[in-house]
């Protein structure tokens, strides 16, 4: 498993497609619809986590051993006023930390440039 994190608009999906060679057909955009664990690349995984926070449900974790999880880092701002957003932010932190632990590779994108944090 591989985790790609970074702030918004930092070039994470472009990295997954160009460097890891993931085709569009293998990308599940969790911001546009339900999560599909059969796809290799789970894009906007943080948006899936938002729906979990809204419903107060435990998230499903990627099952494919070659899964690539892409998530926006939403952890660095002020504690949000809204309780759902607050729960979401914490759920993102906990879940992505767990995914990072299980991942062979963790990469952070910064201004389009990858930096390997693990592996």
């Amino acid at each position: 498993m591989e985790l790609i994190i970074g702030g918004a608009y930092q070039g994470k999906l472009t990295y997954a497609k160009t460097v890891l060679g993931i085709p569009e057909s293998e990308v599940c955009d969790c911001g546009a619809g339900d999560i599909d664990l059969s796809r290799r690349c789970l894009y906007h995984y943080e948006q899936y986590l938002y729906r979990c926070a809204e419903r107060d449900e435990a998230p499903v974790l990627p099952t494919r051993p070659d899964a690539v999880v892409i998530a926006d880092d939403v952890s660095c701002g002020v504690v949000p006023m809204d309780s759902v957003v607050r729960a979401w932010r914490e759920l993102c932190g906990r879940t992505l930390t767990a995914i990072a632990l299980q991942s062979e590779t963790v990469t952070r994108l910064y201004c389009g440039i990858p930096k390997r944090l693990k592996g």
Binding site: G7, Y9, D72, S75, G77, V78
Partner: protein, 178 residues
């Protein structure tokens, strides 16, 4: 050498960028491209702090809140430039005269790349505003997306890309001249 500095608010980006721009200048002219257009007392105080911070460091200040390529008129382009900051330049280009210009991101990114190409050395300062959980209105989100485009384009054309964390540089590309 062309450099991009980004990072959090009041983390020491400008000070480190000033030092780099001076080293890169050598014997050539040293210019400060000031992009903030002050709107209130808080802005004027912020500008005064920056003026004081670079006093005596040999910068010639060029105020240029919009149309950044105009800043090169009548200057020695082979010199060393410090542009502080991409953030306020984009703000001025996107929000002015009571309108919101949604094309500003692509235009400013292009102008900054051309500026980068035309000068001897330059250090760009931007701001990293991409890692919070806030859900913004469309104007703010569009601005954020446009600034990220400028940052990614500058990161592509610059030799060095640095994140400044509390005065400590983390290198993503290239090297520091210090």
């Amino acid at each position: 050498m062309k450099m991009l500095f980004s990072g959090g608010c009041k983390n020491g980006k400008s000070t480190t960028a000033e030092d780099c721009a001076r080293v890169l200048a050598g014997d050539r002219p040293l210019y400060y491209l000031a992009t903030m257009i002050p709107h209130d007392e808080e802005d004027r105080a912020r500008i005064a702090r920056h003026v004081q911070s670079r006093a005596g460091k040999g910068f010639t200040t060029i105020e240029c809140g919009r149309h950044i390529l105009d800043a090169l008129e009548g200057v020695d382009a082979s010199g060393s430039f410090l542009l502080d900051a991409v953030t306020s330049l984009l703000n001025n280009e996107m929000f002015h005269d009571g309108i919101v210009d949604f094309e500003a991101g692509e235009r400013v990114a292009g102008e900054l790349c051309r500026l980068c190409d035309r000068v001897g050395s330059i250090v760009f300062v931007s701001d990293y505003i991409y890692s919070d959980a806030e859900r913004y209105d469309d104007f703010t989100e569009n601005y954020r997306q446009a600034l990220a485009l400028c940052d990614r384009e500058l990161a592509r054309v610059c030799d060095t890309v640095v994140e400044i964390n509390y005065g400590i540089p983390i290198l993503y590309k290239g090297e520091l001249p210090l």
